[in-house]
Symmetry: C2
Subunit: 346 residues, 2 copies
C-alpha cells in the first residue's frame, strides 16, 4: 500500500518527503497508523553511515506508536482500534536458541531491524516510523496502555527497553549504587528505572549545569566528571555503571569508579573502540559489558511496568518538517530528553 514518509536518498542527502509501497497485510500481520515516532540518536548515525553502509533510500524511526487499522486473519492479540507499538525489531528467525529464550535481539540468524535492514527474504528493505503507517508481524507488535501519554510512550520502545533490560538482567535494585553516564534520551530513562527499582542513583556528567535536571528526574547524587576532586571521591563507590554515551570517552576512568566485582554496562555505541587497560579490569575483578535493546516479551513487560508505575519519557513534540533542527539540537544535547514527531504533521 502507498505509504507517505520522510526518507534520505543517500548518506549525504537531507530527510525529505518520499512515498513508497508497504506490503499488504498478511494473515499474521498487524497494520497500524503511526501517531508518534521518537527521534533516536541512532537514526542520525544510520542515515549518515556512521556505523556501517546503509540501505538507501532510508526511512528512519524505531520508536513507533499508533492505532491498529487492519489485522490479518490469524492475528489473535490485536484488533482494529487498539493502541500498538513497535521498537527496533520487526522480525527474527524465531527458531534459534536465543529467539526461543525470548532474546530475539540476539537472534543467531540476525534479527530484522525496523529500518535499514532486510526482511527475512534478504531482499525487501525495511522502512521505519517516519511514515504514516506500518505493517508488522503480530509477534513483534507491542500493546500500549491508554493510561499513559501516548507521545511520551513512543521512546520507551527503544530508549526505555535499552535501559530497562540491562538493569533487570544484572538485577540492579535495592542496596545497589548505580551510576548513569549521559543524561540524554537513554540516560534519563536509566535514572527513572534505576530509581523505580530501588537503587541509589548518581548521574555522572561533564556538565555541572545538569545537576538540577538530574535531581528532578529522581537521581540521588550528581558527580561532575570533569572535576578531579569529585572523581577522586567517587572512586570504587559504584556497583554498576549504566553508560549511555555514544561519543568517545575514557573507559578506564569510569572503571576506576566501580567497586570490586562492579559492572560497567555499555548501551551506547561510540564509533571508535574504547581503550581498555587490563589493569582496570584485573584490579577489582571488574567487567565491561554491553547490552542491546531487549526481547519482545521483556519489552511488553517494560511497557506494562511503565503503565503500572506511571513512567514515560520526558519529551518535546515536533513537526516532521523541523527534523533537521531537532537533529542539530540533539547532537548538542539540547533536548529534554527526547524529540517525538507528531506524525499528523507528515
Amino acid at each position: 500500500m502507498k505509504t507517505k514518509a520522510y526518507a534520505v536518498q543517500n548518506e549525504t542527502a537531507p530527510l525529505a518527503p518520499w512515498t513508497f509501497d508497504r506490503r499488504d497485510v498478511g494473515p499474521h500481520d498487524v497494520q497500524f497508523d503511526i501517531l508518534f515516532c521518537g527521534v533516536c540518536h541512532s537514526d542520525l548515525h544510520q542515515i549518515k553511515n556512521d556505523w556501517f553502509p546503509g540501505i538507501f533510500p532510508m526511512v528512519p524511526g524505531h520508536e513507533i506508536v499508533g492505532r491498529v487499522v487492519k489485522v490479518g486473519d490469524h492475528v489473535k492479540k490485536f484488533k482494529v482500534g487498539d493502541l500498538a507499538g513497535t521498537g527496533c525489531m520487526v522480525d527474527s528467525c524465531q527458531v534459534c536458541e536465543n529467539c526461543k529464550r525470548d532474546l530475539e535481539q540476539y537472534c543467531l540468524e540476525g534479527s530484522t531491524q525496523t529500518y535499514n535492514s532486510y526482511e527475512r527474504n534478504g531482499k525487501t528493505p525495511t522502512y521505519g516510523g517516519y511514515s504514516n503507517t506500518i505493517v508488522v508481524r503480530e509477534e513483534f507488535v507491542l500493546h500500549i496502555s491508554d493510561k499513559l501519554d501516548l507521545a511520551a510512550t513512543a521512546p520507551l520502545l527503544c530508549a526505555g527497553i535499552t535501559t530497562y533490560s540491562p538493569l533487570k538482567h544484572w538485577k540492579v535494585g535495592k542496596g545497589h549504587k548505580l551510576a548513569v553516564v549521559g543524561l540524554g534520551g537513554l540516560g534519563h530513562m536509566g535514572v527513572k528505572f534505576g530509581v523505580a527499582f530501588g537503587a541509589e542513583v548518581t548521574v555522572l556528567s561533564t556538565s555541572p549545569k545538569k545537576e538540577a535536571d538530574a535531581k528532578a528526574l529522581g537521581a540521588h547524587h550528581f558527580v561532575v566528571t570533569s572535576d578531579p576532586a569529585q572523581i577522586k571521591a567517587a572512586r570504587a563507590t559504584f556497583d554498576y555503571i549504566l553508560d549511555t554515551v555514544s561519543a568517545p570517552h575514557d573507559m578506564n576512568m569510569y572503571l576506576s569508579l566501580l567497586k570490586t566485582d562492579g559492572v560497567h554496562i555499555c548501551v551506547g555505541a561510540p564509533p571508535e573502540p574504547a581503550q581498555v587497560s587490563a589493569f582496570s579490569l584485573l584490579a577489582g575483578r571488574k567487567s565491561l559489558a554491553g547490552s542491546g535493546i531487549g526481547g519482545i516479551k521483556e519489552t511488553q513487560e517494560m511497557l506494562d511496568f511503565c503503565a503500572a508505575n506511571n513512567i514515560v519519557s520526558d519529551i518535546e513534540i515536533i513537526d516532521i518538517k523541523d527534523i533537521h533542527t531537532a537533529y542539530d539540537r540533539m547532537v548538542k544535547g539540547d533536548v529534554q530528553y527526547r524529540f517525538v514527531i507528531d506524525m499528523a504533521t507528515l
Copy 2:
C-alpha cells in the same frame, strides 16, 4: 637476618647475586627456607619496568615453596619442619570490606606484594623468592601437601590460583564450553583446571604446533586463531574465554567467539590497552572481565584441590645462574610450561 638472593639493581641491570637483611621473625611470623621458586612472566615485566617504575634493588619471585625453620610465639598453624608456600601477596590491611570477604588481593588499602612493594609501614621494601629464606606473617603462608612434587607445586602459587580463581568465580564447569587463550604457564593450568571442573576445553593458539601439547594436557579441542576458516567455525561457540596472554591481541576477534552472555576473562596484562568495540559487547550481551590472583583462603582451597586431584604444573627445573637463558626462552614461549629455580643452586 642475612639473606642471599639474586637481584637487579635497576631496570637495565642483569640479575646478579646480592645479599640483604630480612626482618627477624616476629610473634606472628613464619620463616621458611626457600627450596623452589617459579619464574613468572611478571618477574621479567617488573624488573624491566614494563608496567610501572619499580623499587630497586629488586628480588623477584612470587611462586615460593620451602620448609619452615622458625615460627613466632603466637603462630598456631605452622611448626618447624612443615612445608610452606607464599604467592604474590605477603600482607594486606586485613580490616577492609574486601579483606574481610577473603579477597585480600583486592584490599582497598592495597595488598603488599611479595616483591617490588612496601611493607604496611610504607617504607620497607619487600623482596621475593629468588632468595634462600623468607619471613612472612602467618596469615599469608600456605600449607603445601607432601603428596605432590614440591618443585612442580611452586607455580600453583601464582599461575595456579590466577586461573583457578576466575573459573571458580564464574562457576565454569559441566555443560560449559571454555576456551583458553595462550598455552604458557597460566594457560596450561587453565586447561588442567577447566578439565578438572568438567568443562569442554578448547585451546586457542596462533601456533598449529601446539595442538598435540594442548591435547596432552587434557584439552578436548584446538583452534588455530590465525586460520580464518577455523575462527569462522568457532564463532559464537564459547561460554567463557580464559585469556592468559600478556602481549597485545585482537580482543574483538575473541569476543566474536563468545555465545550470547559469554564472558571473556583477562588474567594476563598486556602493557597496551585493548581496543574494544562497543558492538562486540552489545551484540550478545557479552562481558570483558578481569581477575587478579585469588585470596588466601581460596589459594589454600586450590592447593588442597590440587593435592586431592594430583594436579601440579608442568615444569623445567633450572639453576639460578641460568635465569637469563630461562627469561629468553620464556619470552619466545620455549618452555613447557614453567621454569622453576632450584634454590639449592643459589
